[in-house]
């Protein structure tokens, strides 16, 4: 009996231990209370000005604010979850050599991947990751945008000045902060898009490639297509061939971007890594650097077609603004361009600058200038078959043909009437002869009749 009582006590104690430990764990998770080890780390690191001089001479801040950390998204993450390579026996005692901040951030990137697997995959497909692969020392790593010790939820609105993209894209960010989205972001907060709202934070692509940014516009402005259909003829074509800022950034300069496009694979042609065809070919075709003319453009297209791609290479034209800064000068809807004359007449500014584009190995566009006469030439009809703006890119030869046909058609009646008038005398003479002949034959006929009558009376 005694022993069974003792056994029951033991089981109860065990259960209590399990319950208490689980309560303890959940309490840790719920209130964000740090583990003993993390507290120990911060007891040293929560000091302003704590730095480590790296081999590059840079000072790496080692200071971590406990307050900021416990308010951050990583509050449930223990220090050693990321810094698992640190040995508590030697840490702080033996010096660890770190080459530079960049090298340190590159190494720490793997720690981020352990938890943020989905974001890491998106990032690997981004233009930023491609730049790093191509050897860029500036393209952002995780920690360039997210301070792991202070990172806040995306739902928490930070002042736009804290947007990490601005560190590299300063000029664009300045333009954005004054445009319709930027001003609304400042005034109303999260309702207006910040950089990642259109460009995506991790799967960011070169904005002038593909349709990504337009899709982002339409994701918020869902009624845009319907509203445009109310007044804009050929809405679908306009949406396909024109980027939104062309009309919605009315002060921007525009250009025609002729994209090399694989019609079978239905994607923009990309330069293969290590095989720099585009630059070599365009430089050869345009030795004087005057811009590709229609002949050069045609032979260039032929060369790309001979590469044996999946399908026929062709050019797809698109009207867009000339720079990223101009794409971020969006105005209020009421100021957007609605006047068709802006584009649909010969000499329109938008068609004076033309470039040929291919996707570079890092996903960014590679461009080469094209002479704007290409857009009005009959011989480039095949090359730029997919781009046509009524009026402004009309084929000049057809204008001459129209004048020629009209002159011909008008001259036919004029010449005919003139000859007819010149022949008036001849006509009158012949008519008189005909009448006389008719008269004579009439006379003869009547004489014949009379003779017949006389004969009959006899």
């Amino acid at each position: 009996m005694k022993s069974s009582h003792a056994t029951s006590k033991l089981i109860l104690a065990g259960l209590l231990a399990i319950v208490l430990s689980s309560i303890g764990l959940s309490a840790h998770a719920a209130d964000g209370e740090m583990s003993k080890e993390s507290k120990a780390c911060l007891s040293c690191h929560d000091k302003d000005g704590m730095t480590k001089t790296l081999e590059s001479g840079e000072a790496l801040s080692l200071a971590i604010s406990t307050k900021a950390y416990t308010e951050s998204m990583h509050k449930k993450t223990d220090c050693e979850d990321c810094h698992s390579n640190l040995d508590s026996k030697t840490h702080g005692k033996a010096k660890t050599a770190i080459k530079s901040k960049r090298e340190f951030a590159l190494g720490m990137r793997e720690s981020c991947r352990d938890c943020h697997k989905k974001k890491a995959v998106e990032y690997d497909d981004s233009v930023h990751a491609a730049l790093i692969k191509a050897g860029s020392k500036k393209a952002p790593l995780c920690t360039d945008c997210h301070n792991p010790h202070t990172v806040r939820s995306a739902k928490v609105v930070s002042p736009i000045a804290e947007t990490p993209c601005a560190k590299c894209h300063e000029a664009i960010f300045k333009a954005y902060s004054k445009d319709v989205h930027g001003l609304e972001r400042i005034a109303k907060g999260i309702s207006a898009p910040l950089c990642a709202g259109c460009h995506q934070a991790h799967a960011v692509k070169a904005a002038s490639m593909g349709e990504g940014v337009k899709d982002a516009c339409l994701a918020c402005h869902k009624e845009a297509v319907t509203q445009h259909k109310d007044w804009l003829p050929n809405t679908a074509l306009h949406f396909e061939a024109i980027s939104c800022p062309v009309c919605h950034a009315p002060d921007a300069q525009r250009r025609v971007n002729l994209r090399l496009y694989d019609s079978t694979a239905k994607r923009q042609v990309a330069e293969k890594t290590g095989v720099p065809r585009f630059e070599k070919r365009t430089d050869t075709a345009d030795a004087k650097d005057m811009g590709l003319d229609e002949r050069a453009l045609w032979s260039l297209l032929k060369e790309f077609n001979q590469d044996g791609g999946d399908g026929k290479m062709l050019l797809r034209g698109r009207l867009e603004v000339r720079s990223g800064v101009e794409a971020h000068q969006l105005s209020e809807k009421s100021k957007a361009i609605r006047d068709c004359n802006t584009c649909h007449q010969q000499g329109a500014a938008a068609f004076q600058s033309v470039s040929l584009t291919i996707a570079g190995p890092d996903g960014r566009p590679l461009r080469h200038g094209v002479q704007n006469e290409v857009l009005n030439s009959l011989t480039s009809m095949e090359s730029v078959r997919g781009f046509y703006a009524i009026g402004s890119t009309r084929i000049k030869l057809l204008d001459y043909l129209l004048v020629l046909v009209l002159l011909g058609a008008i001259s036919v009646p004029l010449v005919h009437m003139t000859i007819k008038r010149l022949f008036k005398g001849v006509r009158e003479k012949l008519e008189a002869e005909r009448l006389a002949a008719a008269h004579d034959s009439g006379k003869q006929a009547s004489t014949g009749h009379r003779h017949d009558a006389d004969d009959a009376s006899k």
């Binding site: 679908a236 074509l237 004359n341 007449q345 009524i390 009309r394 057809l398 005919h416 001849v426």
Partner: protein
């Protein structure tokens, strides 16, 4: 002068709708294409009108097609199957317009309700109505909404190719209309053929002539 009923009411209605429609299409087409040179109406209005008039004329085309398909008057479009006879008649007609008319000779073609076109008209109108006009309407329809018909546009070589065909035909029709109006004034009086296309009755000379077309 004998009066022959040559142009049935349906044909006359089709003809004048077509005539005014084409003039409006040419005017709005010129405004659309030459916005930098012509300032009659705003571009957008020109495009909208051009589209609507285009649809009206497409419907009108089917009025013409339906009438002739379901009427014995289709004989006016029956081709001359003997090339010798056809070319002889065509040559005589050309000789008349290029020489005989200056000498006051009579028109070698004598119309009736089932043979109202001379050899040149018969061939030309068939090419226009069964080839050029349908191509014109079809290319116009494609350009009315390029997005909707993108696969056909792409198959035909792209929007620039489709537009070039449309504009080439526009140039042909501009020339045709001028010459057509002038030739229509070469009846026995300058207004004879125009009156006939309004009243339906064509005045023909009484004296019997050998019909060179037949």
């Amino acid at each position: 002068m004998e009066k022959l009923y040559i142009h049935p009411l349906t044909v006359r209605l089709w003809h004048w709708t077509n005539a005014f429609g084409f003039l409006l299409l040419i005017a709005t087409g010129l405004q659309i294409r030459y916005l930098d040179l012509i300032h009659l109406i705003p571009f957008r209005m020109a495009v909208v009108w051009h589209n609507w008039i285009g649809f009206v004329l497409i419907a009108n085309f089917f009025v013409w097609l339906g009438y002739y398909l379901f009427s014995d008057k289709i004989k006016v479009y029956h081709p001359e199957l003997s090339p010798t006879k056809y070319f002889q008649a065509s040559f005589r007609q050309m000789q008349f317009y290029g020489y005989g008319i200056f000498r006051g000779e009579p028109n070698p073609h004598h119309p009736n309700a089932y043979k109202k076109f001379n050899a040149l008209q018969s061939m030309l109108y068939q090419i226009i109505m069964m080839l050029l006009v349908p191509i014109m309407f079809f290319t116009g329809l494609l350009m009315w909404d390029v997005g909707r018909f993108s696969s056909i546009v792409e198959m035909l070589g792209g929007v620039r190719v489709v537009d070039t065909v449309h504009v080439l035909l526009f140039i042909v029709f501009c020339g045709f209309i001028i010459v057509h109006v002038y030739l229509a004034s070469l009846g026995h009086t300058p207004s004879a053929h125009f009156k006939a296309m309004i009243t339906g009755y064509e005045e023909v000379e009484d004296e019997p002539k050998h019909d060179v077309v037949s």
